[in-house]
Subunit: 276 residues, 4 copies
Amino acid sequence: MARIPRMSETFSEPAAPQMQDVQSGPSAVALAIDRVGVKGLKLPLAVRDRAGGRQHTVAAVDLTVDLPAEFKGTHMSRFVEALGHWQGDLDYATCKNLLADLCERLQATSAHARFAFPYFVTRAAPVSGIEGPMHFDCTLDGELAGDRLIFTLRVEVPVMTVCPCSKAISDEGAHSQRAVVRIACRARGFVWIEELVEVAEQAASSRVYSLLKREDEKFVTETSFANPCFVEDVVRAAAKKLLSDPRITWFRVEVESQESIHNHAASASIELPRRP
Amino acid sequence: MARIPRMSETFSEPAAPQMQDVQSGPSAVALAIDRVGVKGLKLPLAVRDRAGGRQHTVAAVDLTVDLPAEFKGTHMSRFVEALGHWQGDLDYATCKNLLADLCERLQATSAHARFAFPYFVTRAAPVSGIEGPMHFDCTLDGELAGDRLIFTLRVEVPVMTVCPCSKAISDEGAHSQRAVVRIACRARGFVWIEELVEVAEQAASSRVYSLLKREDEKFVTETSFANPCFVEDVVRAAAKKLLSDPRITWFRVEVESQESIHNHAASASIELPRRP
Amino acid sequence: MARIPRMSETFSEPAAPQMQDVQSGPSAVALAIDRVGVKGLKLPLAVRDRAGGRQHTVAAVDLTVDLPAEFKGTHMSRFVEALGHWQGDLDYATCKNLLADLCERLQATSAHARFAFPYFVTRAAPVSGIEGPMHFDCTLDGELAGDRLIFTLRVEVPVMTVCPCSKAISDEGAHSQRAVVRIACRARGFVWIEELVEVAEQAASSRVYSLLKREDEKFVTETSFANPCFVEDVVRAAAKKLLSDPRITWFRVEVESQESIHNHAASASIELPRRP
Amino acid sequence: MARIPRMSETFSEPAAPQMQDVQSGPSAVALAIDRVGVKGLKLPLAVRDRAGGRQHTVAAVDLTVDLPAEFKGTHMSRFVEALGHWQGDLDYATCKNLLADLCERLQATSAHARFAFPYFVTRAAPVSGIEGPMHFDCTLDGELAGDRLIFTLRVEVPVMTVCPCSKAISDEGAHSQRAVVRIACRARGFVWIEELVEVAEQAASSRVYSLLKREDEKFVTETSFANPCFVEDVVRAAAKKLLSDPRITWFRVEVESQESIHNHAASASIELPRRP
């Protein structure tokens, strides 16, 4: 099968010129592919951290590019090579560098990178002040298409909700439960993961902690019972806060509450501006 | 707190009129909620089946409606009641009935229902003809917004891929692996799950089976090696077939191959028409 | 359907006598294999049901046998054939039939079958009496080794726990959450899944429901707050009940509570008699 | 940081002496609890690394102790405190320190700690020598009961298997797939994760890689086809190797192969010495 010349010969596979380059052959079906690449690579890396400057974590990484209709296949090994050559901590700037490198190595017009990682914050208990680690599952999506660069940051924030209906109608108590607030957003300028965590936590009955002494547990219980909220209240309060932030250009908030009186979840979501 | 009258008094909660109806109070934040409801209900049901008329399976169900800016909360129990009153096997028509009932019970203008279930097909081995059960994970999404009714059917189809590059450059053999083809589509008119399964399987090196005798294994091995394909080939072949079907108005195909020489997956996707 | 040839017929596959039977060759390493077989088969089936006689569900099935040191391989297709020939609803008796058939088809001295399936119970709300479906994830493990037949039944039961410490020290309220009680047991004689569900639910602050009206929610909240319990209390109460049942010969109870004030779980387990 | 008061100080929490200590009250059911504690804590840590000395990773941590029949509850916050005070990289020695500290803080006679974490190894491609990261999911379990200290190390190793039967009976090719070898072992003396990885990989048709150029892919394909193996062969070869290691006092090996011609897995396991 004849070899199809590339935009730049520097991207040909130098090490084994005698071997057939099947991927570079013509495609049997002339359809462009939106995204092609590798999924589920894992690697240790460091991310920017508001409190400490940087922190070590571990990320699952997906990397894709577009493929024009005329090429049979992409070169999967180049994604891993790009990741290997990638320098520095994970950040908007370094993610952009990786996307640009992917476009160049793969002769693509668009590239997408997703990093999913736990992010750690040291949290002090509300009364005793004792500190413990909290983690938040985060995802950073970067997309480069020509000159258009879009980052989407996602954070999952566990919170506590106390049911207002249960509290209003019961002689004693009210059911509470752990809920998760998932915020995805796009922004002009830098947004800290910690800022989205705060938006989510302030919208709920209480934040959650890894370490609470008895006096802290009393505080959390009483505070949460003073702030009962439905998933509807949480999603609206978070959305209102995100709407008021001039940096945020798009967001989606989802709240999923593991109702302690049911074996299913209650859920609510708002996306603004809503995509069709 | 004063009770807010509804569109129809028949939907008021009759059994406990003296209790406070917190959900019906005014909302503190005047933002409409896109989707609010219940997630993760499980129930046994029957679905239409091309071969046998109907089959029993088990579904995980999510049900949501929209909530206007002025209402504090939805009534979560009514979702489960609607499901309890719902009659018949799962089908486009019965799903529409459920959506209309949700809109009415919840005084909503839009409703969404998702049913995720395994679907079973009896498959004959290619040479011996011995039959065994195959399952395909499916999702039916129904959305009703005013008069607009949209169904999205998703099917996950496990297939086999043999690597064309590995075959071309190696003196013997070629690596093969299990891949999964995920097709989501919207259509005018009825589409069988079996039709999407066929689209996915015909695009790959071979279909997979639950029961193969030795003569079948020989057939599958030789057939698949005669049809090597990259994830790019599979996604394009499936997309081409879906494009040529006049019933299909939108689709997305993703192929994810658990590369047997790597510890990560290769992936490719096409969506047409592409949503922004 | 004709009988499959057995050991006396020297392991050959009758349908393709000219093909090499690699599996029946000698093993390079003379070590017996404890369990070899297939995992992750899915099939629809029916199970016995205390309320309704039988119910349809879907099971994930693992089937294995032992393999003596001298044989290179088992015959994987025979597991699926055994499942295909298996008759009737899932029950201790039919599971035993399957195990005996596996031993015979595979010329094995021991066989193991695992069926994992959701089991559905219709549950009435405590005050309104309105009914809704509840599901419990169950596993039935059957092992046949010579004349020794052991069944292990596992049930996962979601429950509600109200924290006694939080209640005692707070001016108002107490944190509650969903917890899961996992009971595994071996018994002389028949044990209904419903019986294990009751053991788990009676040990907790409250059972959970799929459908609750406001008067029911009031009842569940007040009942649960009148019965606060730690995971330690739940595991002990369930263990005590299982100990007092003359049919139960071994059990393990685990309680895992998704603490609503933390982002981790609290857990407790008791196994009796304890295995080393 | 000041020492936390112990049993002599009658279990009271010093910071809030006026609050009720519900956990320290008597238990209603006089049954000892095997394990009680916290599950699912996540934290960043460093582990010993054969190539580089140490590496950063992220672990999910479960910590439990026993609870005598007479005490109502354990003190959950002390587990998180113990983790907070724990010093150094994860290792057998530091894990033992943590277990001893848990016994002391919780006045327990036994303690159990589980760390689950991805472990990273830099791997060179077999021909080109280009390096890429590989990760292996590992679990370290430490149990301290009186003077008895047991560590169990688990490693999951993805490998490639080529089917010997398919190769023997087919005119061309043979199906291959990714399989996972799970080794759990107890040992006298230090065992590197890398050693267990090597045992697993040498038992399979080929190891897998994150980065392969074409000449490497040719090598891997040809090597794997020269070494076809069933799951039975893999599990035996790994077991034989572990048996011959004088340090290993107990092991269990499981191989699960995602058969590329089926939609289920083939599996085999050996445990030696076998526990009843």
